[in-house]
């Protein structure tokens, strides 16, 4: 059947939108961190977040999603209503913020709008099936795995894969209880203070078979080699090292590659003590215990933890990194946690490096792990 390729991508984050603008912002070291705008800051000890500017209004997730989806469709040169098009949206909290606004102030709420099928159909003109997956912070990477299956089984001609999440007061408040005082930024693998700050974000890609893309005369942005998905079956919130290792190995097994083939690892890197320690140890275990040769970067330092969107936000960044042979640096990190001392964490300036194969990690609450392996199209960068 041939490879599955990404022919278009879109992204909306606190540092910019559109894959090109977004990636340039990443490589500049831009940060979307700013004073908390959507909630009353006095209620929280943490008063900054990675928000996308806009009005306090319902249906923001759907709107951000719509922006990313339109970009991806345009980038890929396909119509929403095209024959055989299926949509898979991964999200942690769907339109929970809309429910909060309804509860707090009586903003109108249409329950059927809480997942995204209606938005896709009515606002964007998709005619076929839309699936909304809610797989916590690994959701959009799971969505990519589902898309891969749909294409492999011949259930879809083309899949629009997306992820989106916006800050919710309840999630922000919950994290505020566990984050330490004085957390000024999200520092993937960085030394204390450790904690996570949430970000608004949406991303979308168009996935299709290579021969279908070729028939339309489109050159792919990247090849999806495999998605490894599993569940730790261990703890409701804490990650588990062997589960994370297994998901990375499964992704590499499905992609028919070995650890030395990976040229870039976009880490999940949420900045929490639990994640960073566990992920660093798992990377060491999978890639080699002494000195880990693969460059690692943590994008959440710049765009925050975009929850269900984060996996696909990482995928879009990795596509651009492969095309431009450039790896964005992790911001806000100077000293590393002990467990990450052996990692080649890219910090300071963006690093020029050839990236043929990239791995994108995403790990969610509930022990849900999804790891994506991407490959640069053989026709070379920028083709």
């Amino acid at each position: 059947m041939g490879d599955l390729v990404i022919t278009g991508a879109g992204v909306v984050t606190s540092i910019g939108q559109g894959r090109v603008e977004f990636f340039e912002a990443l490589c500049r070291g831009a940060s979307g961190l700013g004073p908390l705008a959507y909630f009353e800051p006095r209620l929280f000890k943490q008063r900054s977040a990675y928000e996308i500017a806009g009005q306090v209004e319902p249906m923001r997730s759907s709107r951000l999603l719509g922006r990313a989806v339109r970009q991806a469709l345009q980038d890929a040169g396909v119509e929403a209503g095209a024959e055989g098009m299926v949509v898979v949206v991964g999200t942690g909290l769907r339109e929970l913020r809309s429910v909060e606004l309804w509860h707090a102030g009586g903003a109108a709420l249409r329950p059927e709008r809480l997942h995204f099928a209606d938005a896709m159909r009515e606002d964007l003109g998709f005619a076929g099936l839309t699936l909304t997956l809610s797989n916590a912070c690994a959701a959009s990477s799971f969505a990519l795995g589902v898309a891969e299956d749909l294409l492999e089984l011949g259930e879809a001609e083309r899949v629009l894969v997306a992820g989106c999440d916006t800050l919710t007061e309840s999630m922000f408040g919950m994290l505020d209880r566990v984050n330490p005082v004085g957390l000024s930024a999200l520092r993937p693998f960085g030394a204390a203070p450790k904690g996570v700050l949430m970000g608004d974000g949406a991303a979308a890609v168009v996935l299709e078979r290579r021969d279908a893309a070729r028939a339309r005369g489109r050159s792919p942005l990247g090849v999806v080699k495999g998605v490894g998905m599993n569940c730790d079956a261990y703890n409701a919130t804490a990650p588990r090292q062997d589960g994370i290792e297994a998901s990375m190995r499964e992704a590499q097994r499905r992609a028919r590659i070995a650890p030395p083939d990976v040229d870039l690892l976009v880490a999940h890197g949420t900045g929490t003590e639990q994640n960073d320690r566990t992920e660093a140890l798992a990377i060491r275990e999978v890639f080699g215990r002494r000195r880990v040769p693969v460059p690692v970067t943590g994008l959440k330092s710049m765009v925050g933890h975009t929850s269900g969107a984060s996996g696909l936000v990482g995928v879009v960044a990795a596509l651009e990194a492969m095309r431009r042979s450039l790896i964005p640096a992790t911001a806000y990190v100077s000293a590393l946690i002990d467990e990450a001392r052996d990692l080649d964490l890219v910090t300071g300036e963006a690093r020029a490096a050839e990236v043929r194969v990239a791995q994108v990690n995403a790990f969610g609450f509930g022990g849900l792990n999804a790891v994506v392996i991407l490959e640069r199209p053989p026709d070379g960068p920028g083709a």
Binding site: G2, D149, R254
Partner: protein, 383 residues
């Protein structure tokens, strides 16, 4: 990088074992013999149901003593549907001669169809919260039985299966959907072997629930013998075909494919639309595998509720005209086993194709739900 493409053709799936606990026998051979002889499993209701069942007869598994199959240890708090499932799963594994050890355990899974879990456990537990002193002095040991994936979880625990673990709730189609899901999981390399099927326990809650839900034909149809309630578990051991051959196990059948669709009232459907939909899926299934309608020896139908009966009859007319294959009605022997029905139909078909001197190689299984859902599967007899 070399190596095979990440998208090699989906792997082929074999049935190498069957485990059955049914009103007409326990174990594959006993069930097959009873089915082919047309042994009646519908008998006057025995035992105490509170309140008494609103039907004179039922397909009960009368001679089932869980401790005989599973031992006394660890079975005290398991409900009937869980013990039925664990027993059938163990029999399937034994029938297929598959040893689950540390090395292969992460690649062996379980996919179980159950529409509502154990309705009796759920309602008994809920009742306790009302009967006993507050704050809710209920027996915590009974809580795990109330969740839908109790049976799948216990199967994994008892048989040490650490791979894919999925509970499928799809009404009367649950059993067949589970087989379909498992087949795809193996084809797409998410597991190498899966115990897949369905389970249903007879309880006053379930039968009265169906009665009050207006399923009068469940009890009062003109074809009474078809629609008495039944219970049991039917589980297939599915394996990657080459792996089964490599370990020199007899292949009972090959699962060539599954399809499903929905033609309910919300989509403007009706019996005719549902039948046309089912016929289209049957045709697609056979065409994809180059199987001509006249090569199909038998169709194992869901019968049951009258509407479904006519859906399948109409679909057979469309697909086969007057050259109909044999129609297998296992339900007339064991009753409406609801969640397990589709899995029992599979086992019945395999018994039919496997009978001595059977010249036919292909068989179909169909399910048609009252809600408008349809599903079908195509099997080829083993060599």
């Amino acid at each position: 990088m070399g190596g095979p493409s990440a998208l090699s053709p989906p792997r082929r799936v074999a049935v190498t074992g069957c485990g059955v606990v049914s009103p007409i026998g326990i174990g594959r051979e006993e069930f097959a013999r009873a089915f082919l002889e047309g042994k009646a499993g519908l008998r006057p209701v025995a035992g105490d149901y509170s309140p008494p069942l609103p039907c004179a007869r039922a397909g009960q598994v009368v001679d089932f003593d869980a401790t005989r199959w599973l031992g006394k240890k660890g079975t005290r708090f398991l409900d009937r549907s869980t013990t039925l499932a664990v027993t059938a799963a163990g029999l399937a594994l034994k029938d297929g001669g598959l040893a689950v050890e540390e090395a292969n355990s992460p690649r062996v899974g379980v996919v179980l169809g159950t529409a509502m879990g154990s309705l009796k456990s759920i309602s008994d537990f809920g009742r306790e919260t009302l009967l006993y002193e507050r704050p809710f002095l209920v027996n915590p040991m009974l809580f795990p039985n109330t969740v839908l994936n109790s049976a799948a979880g216990q199967v994994a625990i008892w048989l040490k299966l650490r791979g894919v673990n999925t509970t499928v709730s799809n009404g009367q189609l649950s059993g067949l959907t589970a087989v379909s899901y498992a087949g795809r999981a193996i084809a797409l390399e998410y597991a190498d072997a899966i115990l897949a099927g369905g389970v249903e326990e007879l309880s006053a809650q379930l039968v009265w629930g169906a009665h009050h839900a207006g399923n009068r034909e469940f009890l009062e149809s003109a074809r009474e013998e078809d629609v008495y309630p039944g219970e049991g578990a039917s589980i297939l051991l599915l394996e990657e075909l080459q792996a089964a051959r490599d370990r020199a196990r007899p292949v009972i059948a090959e699962l060539l494919g599954c399809e499903s669709g929905f033609y309910g009232r919300t989509r403007g459907g009706g019996v005719t639309a549902q039948a046309q939909g089912l016929a289209a899926w049957l045709n697609r299934l056979m065409r994809a595998r180059d199987v001509a309608p006249e090569e199909v020896g038998a169709l194992s139908a869901s019968c049951g509720p009258e509407a479904a009966d006519s859906v399948e009859s109409l679909a057979m007319d469309i697909v086969f005209g007057d050259r109909r294959p044999a129609r297998l009605d296992v339900k007339s022997l064991i009753g409406e086993c609801y969640s397990a029905a589709g899995a029992f139909q599979c086992t019945a078909l395999l018994a039919y194709l496997g009978r001595p001197g059977c010249a036919q190689r292909y068989g179909l299984v169909t399910s048609a739900g009252k809600d408008g859902a349809v599903a079908c599967a195509l099997f080829k007899r083993g060599d």
